[in-house]
């Protein structure tokens, strides 16, 4: 199990976008996903995201691996929401709503259909948020382009570029310690595991300290900090028509979603009333 962050090559719409509208797009999705607690609304957002992925010729299966890896957490959050969600707690006040109890003997943890509906929404929401992991690369690029204080942007992008190097080092350390008889982080009781952590972290930290110095020397030797004000950037930093169009669409979506949120649509009641309509 592991995350593989890579730039997926391609020539689609999403790739042609400048990093800034792309970043805002994903931020937007995260925000509107918070607005809505109804499974149909949130499901529509998820559908849109999947269609966008498909339209850009990015394999859904590959990017969806991350969601699969997080499924234990997803199920857990779903269950917690079924029982503790505001929908459930509110609806459980009227006994006729209660479907069953999770602990029948003590009549604890009532489960209502409203609760289930909202919980589904939360699960979808979680899946979307996790799914959006891929644009991580673009976030970093966006920061650099935004002329974020140059040092901060540079530090972030260097750190990001070193991730595969550190992943290798961490794996090597674990291998090397295993050769001395170390049994890893997953054996023994909790106290054993806490004691096992420094076996990995101390060499890793020391390696981090050494790398930090090498990075510092490298950027100094290449003149970083010579004249931050007059620094040139060889990459194009220009927005084109497609970027402006995307930005405009994003604004519209944001405004519409906010209106819906404040007028009370998009809560779990939407689906619930549909469902109760069906039943009756």
């Amino acid at each position: 199990m592991g995350l593989r962050i890579e730039v997926i090559p391609g020539e689609s719409f999403l790739h042609k976008l400048d990093a800034r509208p792309k970043f805002l797009l994903f931020l937007l999705i995260t925000v509107i996903v918070i607005y809505f607690t109804d499974p149909i609304y949130v499901g529509a957002i998820m559908l849109a995201v999947l269609l966008l992925t498909r339209a850009c010729n990015i394999s859904i299966r590959k990017t969806g691996v991350i969601v699969k890896a997080s499924s234990p957490l997803l199920i857990m959050y779903g269950l917690i929401n079924v029982v503790l969600g505001p929908a459930n707690t509110l609806a459980a006040k009227t006994p006729s709503n209660i479907l069953f109890y999770l602990m029948p003997v003590m009549n604890w943890f009532p489960v209502t259909p409203q609760g289930i509906v909202q919980s589904v929404a939360i699960c979808i929401r979680y899946a979307i948020v996790v799914y959006l992991l891929q644009p991580v690369v673009d976030i970093v690029l966006a920061l650099v382009k935004w002329k974020f204080p140059s040092s901060l942007a540079l530090g972030t992008s260097i750190g990001f570029n070193f991730v595969p190097v550190f992943m290798n080092t961490a794996a090597s350390i674990m291998d090397a310690q295993a050769c001395r008889g170390w049994k890893g982080l997953k054996s023994g009781n909790l106290a054993d595991r806490v004691r096992a952590l420094p076996v990995l972290l101390v060499p890793l930290f020391l390696h981090g300290i050494e790398s930090a110095q090498k990075i510092a020397v490298a950027i100094e030797a290449k003149g970083f900090g010579y004249n931050l004000a007059k620094r040139t950037y060889s990459r194009e930093i220009r927005l084109r028509t497609i970027d402006y169009v995307t930005l405009a669409v994003e604004c519209i979506i944001f405004v519409v979603s906010t209106i819906l949120y404040y007028t009370g649509y998009g809560t779990y009641m939407f689906t619930y009333s549909l469902l109760s309509g069906l039943r009756l």
Binding site: L3, T156, F162, L206, G208, I209, A212, A216, I219
Partner: protein, 186 residues
């Protein structure tokens, strides 16, 4: 005679808590070395999460090793660098944890900056039991993953309590192993 002794004693109590100006340097120091530390520890935190390294506490609950890096790393990188460490540590969990991590890493960088050994351990532990889980619980609420504040608080508290001995052990070993680390952390 007695009053001098007493006022001296008061000074003796306060002085070992806070670092002197020479020991800590400028708060805005953000040269290549701080960038290096920030990039290195941020990358380290990201890498640990990407590899899924952590201590399983309960089925489904993994104590992330990256949080240990996000707590100790800011000691080296200073305030601005702590922002970088926060962003990089948060990224593997998708956009939504950036606002969770960055204020916390900045908070820890300030703790290490101003306090001497062993007071930074004390304050960090207190923060890990109060501010940390509260902040995370707030955001879990906003996102709706765990709707009940106290459940979110409690589940984060358990994980954070495990971070306390991990941090302390890690820092103590680093201070004894490497004179460079000792000079920086204090």
């Amino acid at each position: 005679m007695l009053s001098t002794l007493e006022s001296n004693r008061a000074l003796l109590i306060i002085m070992p808590i806070f670092k002197t100006k020479e020991e800590r340097g400028s708060i805005w120091a953000f040269g290549s070395l701080q960038i290096g530390y920030a990039a290195a520890f941020g990358g380290l935190a990201f890498a640990l999460r990407a590899l899924g390294i952590g201590i399983p506490i309960a089925p489904g609950m993994l104590m992330d090793a990256r949080d240990v890096v996000a707590i100790v790393g800011p000691a080296f990188s200073g305030l601005a660098g702590a922002i970088i460490i926060g962003i990089l540590a948060a990224l593997p969990s998708a956009v939504f944890s950036v606002q969770c991590y960055v204020p916390l890493t900045m908070m820890h960088s300030l703790v290490f900056r101003y306090l001497k050994w062993p007071w930074y351990h004390v304050i960090n532990s207190i923060l890990l039991l109060t501010v940390y889980p509260t902040w995370w619980a707030v955001w879990y609420q906003i996102f709706g993953f765990i709707p009940n504040f106290w459940v979110a608080f409690a589940s984060n508290l358990i994980a954070d309590a495990v971070y306390i001995p991990s941090n302390i052990i890690l820092i103590e070993i680093l201070r004894r192993y490497s004179p460079a680390a000792k000079r920086i952390i204090g």
